[in-house]
Amino acid sequence: MAALNLDEAEVGRARRAAARIAVDTLSQIEGKTTVAVERAVLRLLGVEGMTPEGVPWANRIVDDLLARGLLDRGAAAWFVRTLVSRGDSPAETAKHMALEGLDDEALPEVEPGELRDRMCSLAREGLDRVDRSRGEREERLARLGRGPEPLRYLIVATGDIHEDVVQARAAARGGADIIAVIRHTAQSLLDYVPEDGGIQGVGGTIANRENFRVMREALDEVSEELGRYVFLTNYCSGLCMPEMAVLGAQERLDVMLNDSMYGVIFRDINMVRTFIDQHFSRALLARAGMMINTGEDNYLTTSDAFQKAHTVLASQFINEQFALLSGLEPGQIGLGHAFEISPKVEDSFLHELAQAQMVRQIFADCPVKYMPPTKYMTGNIFQGNVQNALFNAVSVLTNQTVHLLGMPTEAIHTPHVHDRHLSLENVDYVFRAMQHLGEEIAFRPGGRIETRARKVLADAVAMLEEVAGTGLMEAISQAMFADIARTRVGGKGLEGVVEKAEDYCNPVGDLLKEERTAS
């Protein structure tokens, strides 16, 4: 393998700084929960359904608790107390609470031991569903196998799940290993999951349980047809991040986009809210045996890919540490990387090669999701195919794990059925033609490629040590990532952050933590 001679000591320094950053950030959110985490817990306890106006019960219940200042004990406790007092099923209890509201005055206390037990057993049922999903994935994977790496990751984004299915099936037959259903443009800023699947999405399709199921079923079918397991991806991001984790984990999504800072930077979601939601979500995705994909690639759409390459690497270190602290195994941590240097830059291929190889080496046990050129794609679909070809070349040369296929029409529209077809042909050819190239070449020691990688690493170390000093939240306020500044008290969703009370309880979080330390 074409390996770079990198300074291991520098890598160690980076990792240590990132660990300090992650621990420090988590310590700042320890005493807090969010409406989204609480809704996710309720969903895991069996709260499913919506009001006639389309408001999910989970939202009704949590909003009600928040409005009355009761959320600080955790939604689970109120839910289980109502359930015990009414002697109802979880479904009936949820319906009652959602439609009639909480009767907190009249609600009898439940003995702490019993409360714990009931909460735990409901939570375990919820997690069982997650575990069954995981088991089923493992069974199918064992039986069908999966494509060779780099895995071919393709996007569908028609706005309508049934049309998405048509396109996903065609993509799978053409060689796709992973299908990502891109989400409706505006969904990440909704503080609820739209249960009504009928809404026509823009720039993507509504993400909810029903739509997850429809696509999962279609992909299972085509997996059987092809004798190869086809993965499904959606977004675990936005104001409903924890709930998306629940839905994804239960409906057997295999991969979810989940970044520690994406929402903060690109959706102006409050950072405290995000860090809390992210930590809980990742614990659940860990349990579900899913892969997360982080979103460092996005930084390069707003800041210069050549000058700011080190911010990507720095963020990968941080995302890795956050992920490990949430219980994800290295093999589940799919770090985002991208091929975004302007095609006008001389030797751009050398720089991309250096950076891609560097990331592969530094995060040897983590999958890497390698993103195609997007920002410098143009309406020239012919030339776009060439840009994608060089991207494909770097990917196979550096042996990336997940390869997101670039579309010739990137600068024009969300992919048409033949755009994917052309991109698959591109990848097929380049991967085949260069299959073993990585094994056959070495980089000149001290040459342009190695020098580039060392420079990016050194800059990342410097940045991480600076961030470790100031703290991550402060660093974000200083626009250190993506050249975009966000403040600790700005952004959407801060009103959904709640200080936990002494007796706050999150049975799901507790179980996840316990069983993790146990195993």
Binding site: R169, G201, V417
Partner: protein, 250 residues
């Protein structure tokens, strides 16, 4: 342009050959029938001598075609109506001097990416200090006060701020066009500005990769800018348009 005065047609390798390349997918299995269907469709476009050079099965239900054909249509360019945004390109210093001399005050320009659109790179390229491809943005013009509200700004917010700041111009960016999202947002904004009586007072400018001058006009904006616009283009247009309005008012 060829001998016949001002008419042009597509050109491959011989004047007047009308060479056109097409590609499309038909929802049917590949085969002679599909090839014929592709030819019929091409014929319906009035194209001659069509050759299917690629018939590629995408999956059992879809077939992708690449077709070469020849159009017999010509376009008389002298009859073409150009909706071009009319202005003389000026240098930044010129623009600033022009503002000082013509208006005697700073111009206020307010911009945003409206609706659910979060693509700020385009509006930032026009407004922010950093600019685009070495052309600095409006923030760098001493005589322009440039307020960039950023991403996903509701139309209401933008209209309100524009009124509040007594803006000379409103700059809207729309990048997502799928399912005509941009048309909905842009129509909503113009209606709002009209009901609040702002649309006459301010120069309304829209931009984005799929924005064209004619689209802007159709929707009721004063000007539209597409791919590859530089801040200087917008500034040049703006000061000339404002000067025009001023002189018309006099």
């Amino acid at each position: 342009m060829n001998a016949k005065g001002n008419t042009v047609t597509a050109y491959g390798d011989t004047r007047g050959d009308g060479a056109v390349q097409l590609s499309f997918t038909l929802p049917m299995p590949s085969g002679e029938k599909a090839r014929q269907a592709a030819l019929v469709l091409t014929a319906r476009m009035g194209l001659q001598d069509a050759r299917v050079v690629l018939m590629d099965p995408i999956d059992p239900g879809f077939t992708y075609f690449v077709v070469y054909a020849e159009t017999r249509e010509t376009v008389d360019v002298s009859t073409i109506q150009v909706h071009e945004v009319a202005y003389e390109a000026m240098e930044p210093e010129e623009i600033n001097r022009f503002i000082r001399e013509t208006f005697g005050r700073k111009l206020v320009v307010i911009g945003a990416c409206i609706g659910s659109d979060a693509h700020t790179v385009g509006i930032d390229a026009i407004m922010n200090m950093k600019g685009y491809d070495m052309h600095k943005g409006l923030e760098s013009y001493p005589e322009i006060r440039a307020l960039n509200l950023g991403a996903q700004v509701p139309c209401e917010t933008l209209a309100a701020r524009a009124a509040e700041e007594k803006a000379d111009a409103v700059l809207v960016s729309q990048v997502v066009t799928q399912k005509n999202a941009h048309l909905k947002n842009l129509t909503r904004l113009i209606e709002l500005l009209e009901t609040e009586g702002l649309s006459e007072e301010m120069v309304l400018i829209v931009g984005g990769p799929q924005v064209t001058p004619e689209l802007a006009k159709e929707l009721g904006y004063d000007a539209g800018f597409g791919r590859g616009t530089f801040p200087g283009d917008v500034a040049s247009y703006l000061v000339q348009e404002l000067a025009d309005r001023e002189s018309r008012r006099e």
